[in-house]
């Protein structure tokens, strides 16, 4: 499935990013410099690039944690412009952060239930059932009553994935989900992500885990200096990159 890359011209992309620009510190620091990207349903897109190239900023623009200076972002046909749209879109777009950002004052199951109860207005029993199902799925049902501080990094990140899934999103965004983990915990998180990809979740992943990219990605997007340099299927990108910059970067991270 990973190999089939099709430009689905007849289909409307679920994420449409058009010529987005973003600067920080009143224009002093450029982060995104006219980026356009389309992501289709059930596609897994991995974004790579050197630090400071704007990968995370681009990802965060998709659910408006960063507000672009100009350009247009459309998710599932809804343009992200005002506050009313944004909460609707955020329900459909789950995000997993590098630093997990679990709620430390709630138990694991409390973390999974909070947004279901408050945003989706589900009953307590219904939310708990969904939460336990998801904990089963990520492989840590026995940790339901523990607090995030009592879990290992890998377990915390799996809880964070389950928390995002509890809202039953259409799209999952991953912002360097394994960068803050000890090496021996990376696999357990990647396994969960692989499973998600196989189930057909639309995913945009900022990560340097090339193993994951090879196994699950439909496309790899290489970014540098706020621009998309290259956008190809994994085989093509790894074997014969079109651009010199991509070559240099890959040689650095593939050792």
């Amino acid at each position: 499935m990973a190999s089939e890359t099709i430009a689905r011209l007849d289909e409307q992309p679920i994420i449409q990013i058009e010529n987005v620009r973003k600067t920080f510190d009143h224009g002093k620091v450029g982060a995104l410099d006219g980026v356009s990207l389309n992501v289709y349903r059930k596609e897994v897109v991995v974004i790579i690039g050197p630090s400071g190239s704007g990968k995370s900023t681009l990802l965060r623009c998709i659910n408006r944690l960063e507000v672009p200076d100009s350009g247009k972002v459309t998710v599932d046909g809804v343009p992200l412009t005002d506050a009313e749209n944004i909460n609707k879109v955020r329900m459909e777009v789950g995000i997993v952060f590098q630093q997990f950002n679990l709620f430390p004052h709630l138990t694991v199951i409390g973390n999974l239930m909070l947004a279901q109860r408050v945003v989706r207005k589900r009953s307590k029993a219904e939310a708990a059932t969904i939460a336990l199902d998801l904990l089963n799925k990520v492989g840590i049902p026995e940790k339901a009553e523990m607090y995030p501080g009592q879990l290992s990094g890998g377990q915390q990140q799996r809880v964070a994935i389950a928390r995002a899934l509890a809202m039953q999103p259409e799209i999952m965004l991953f912002d360097e989900p394994t960068s803050a983990l000890d090496p021996e915990m990376i696999k357990e998180v990647l396994d969960v992500m692989l499973q998600l990809a196989e189930e057909g979740m639309t995913m945009v992943v900022v990560s340097h885990e090339m193993g994951f990219a090879r196994a699950a990605a439909n496309r790899i997007v290489f970014m540098d200096d706020g621009q998309i340099v290259e956008d190809s299927p994994p085989q093509m990108l790894f074997e014969c990159p079109k651009e010199q910059r991509t070559c240099e970067f890959l040689s650095k991270i593939l050792h």
Binding site: N87, R90, M91, G94, I95, V118, Y147, A164, M167
Partner: protein
């Protein structure tokens, strides 16, 4: 059968020492229980006659304790002073006044229990301590090390309380009346059982103390300081009723006013602090500006000046507004009248002043507390589709509360002390009652020592309470 003692070897470093202390535990509890079976307080007051300076006489007879007589002494007939008290003593018949007999006598009629509740507690606690020591010895014998470690601190606290309780139980028969005690202490002196039980409690103290190295928890908590201060007040009123009991009776309603004032103000302060703190982190410039202006201005003016302004100058401001309304249009007479009639009572003025001033300090505490929560928490909550308000309510504030609690607790204690400033506003709080008493009697030292001790008990107690809540709210990050 021989299993028990051999297991006990596991406790403590050497067998001899461990067994010795175990025996001490058993002996101390046996002493207490035996003391309760022997005569403790064999006599009691049955009748008392109180005579006053202009010839008034009051008779009282008692079935158990002398509560009414105490009341008689403190409320002399108009313009008369207590002249003398004559009492009659009779032996306690049941079990020659043993501890059990007293307990049985007090517990038999249910309706009395409320009245003599403190005596029942004083008499019952040493018995409970004795049973605790027996249970402790049993735990040691069974070699249950974890339970033993958990029993050390409560055991020591209980043992330390019991000698005081026994002594208080004796004092109780006179219902803390100094005059009666002076007259009757010889006739009502405690007997062998009392001293035996006292010995038992002291032994229990020593034994519990000797186990202190088996636990990591602190043997003495700062709660003892609160208790000691409260005891000091009681001792003063008990042994120097002139003037301390009188001062206490005079200022005690001031304590109620102070507590009412502080409780009301603090509720409002938390509310204003929260709103102010949210205003200070708002991205809306107008809200931010208003909140900041409030904080900056109010923090720059002394609390006393603010209170004086609200109490003395605000009526003038209201009048001015009334005049202004009338000047604009005579048709606004009704609205003007509202302002002319608007007068705060002293209590409301004080609450308003405290809320205004402490709200500004509290706003900064809330702002700092909310700012200390990592930005990622807000982002995570928002990314799940929660509105800013929901994210604040369910994610940020519950975490910020833990950061905010210690400084807000400090504010509470500071407020308790600063509440003494309202004595300038004709609020009869603790300080003002002290001043009134001093103005009547010129007993400056005694009055202010008493007032200071009262404040100390309140502040020490609140500090401990805040600490306790804090420890309950900790969580792993």
């Amino acid at each position: 059968m021989t299993n028990g003692p051999s297991e006990a070897v596991g406790i403590g470093s050497s067998r001899g020492r461990a067994d010795w202390r175990l025996v001490m535990l058993v002996v101390s509890s046996v002493l207490i229980l035996a003391g309760y079976a022997l005569p403790m307080f064999p006599n009691r007051i049955t009748e008392a006659v109180t005579r006053y300076s202009l010839g008034a006489t009051r008779w009282s007879s008692f079935s158990v304790l002398v509560t009414e007589q105490h009341y008689n002494q403190n409320t002399a007939p108009l313009n008369q002073e207590l002249d003398s008290v004559a009492i009659e003593v009779a032996p306690v018949t049941a079990h020659a006044g043993s501890g059990w007999a007293w307990l049985a006598q007090l517990l038999a009629p249910r309706e009395r229990l409320g009245k003599f509740f403190s005596l029942v507690v004083c008499l019952a606690l040493p018995v409970i301590a004795a049973l605790y020591m027996l249970a402790w010895a049993w735990v040691l014998l069974r070699g249950k090390r974890d339970t033993h470690e958990q029993m050390i601190v409560p055991g020591f606290s209980l043992a330390l309380l019991t000698p005081v309780c026994l002594w208080l139980a004796w004092q109780h028969q006179f219902d803390f009346s100094a005059r009666l005690l002076g007259l009757a202490s010889a006739a009502l002196a405690p007997r062998a059982g009392f001293y035996l039980a006292l010995l038992g409690t002291l032994l229990a103290c020593a034994t519990a103390f000797s186990y202190r190295r088996d636990t990591h928890r602190a043997l003495f908590s700062w709660w003892w300081l609160v208790l000691a201060t409260a005891l000091l007040i009681w001792l003063l009123t008990r042994f120097r009723p002139q003037p301390y009991l009188e001062i206490w009776n005079f200022i005690s309603d001031g304590i109620v006013v102070t507590l009412r004032l502080v409780a009301t103000s603090f509720g409002l302060i938390v509310l204003v602090s929260l709103l102010g703190g949210l205003g200070r982190i708002s991205h809306n410039r107008i809200i931010y500006g208003i909140a900041s202006l409030y904080v900056e201005i109010v923090r720059g003016i002394p609390l006393l000046v603010q209170l004086l302004f609200i109490w003395f100058a605000l009526p003038q401001v209201f009048d001015g507004i009334g005049d202004l309304l009338l000047a604009i249009s005579p048709g606004l007479e009704g609205a003007a009248a509202v302002f002319y009639d608007l007068r705060l009572n002293p209590f409301t003025a004080a609450v308003a002043g405290f809320t205004l001033c402490y709200g500004a300090y509290g706003a900064e505490i809330f702002r700092a507390g909310i700012a200390s929560i990592h930005r990622g928490q807000m982002e995570a909550a928002r990314s799940l589709g929660m509105t800013p308000l929901q994210s604040m309510r369910f994610v940020v504030l519950p975490q910020a509360i833990r950061v905010i609690l210690p400084p807000i607790g400090n504010e509470f204690v500071a407020l308790l002390k600063d509440s003494s400033l309202v004595s300038v506003l004709a609020v009869s709080d603790l300080t003002r009652r002290g001043r009134e008493y001093m103005a009547r009697t010129f007993l400056s030292f005694d009055t202010w020592i008493m007032v200071a001790l009262c404040y100390l008990v309140l502040t020490l107690f609140s500090s401990r309470a805040v600490e306790y809540i804090e420890s309950k709210m900790r969580f792993e990050r």
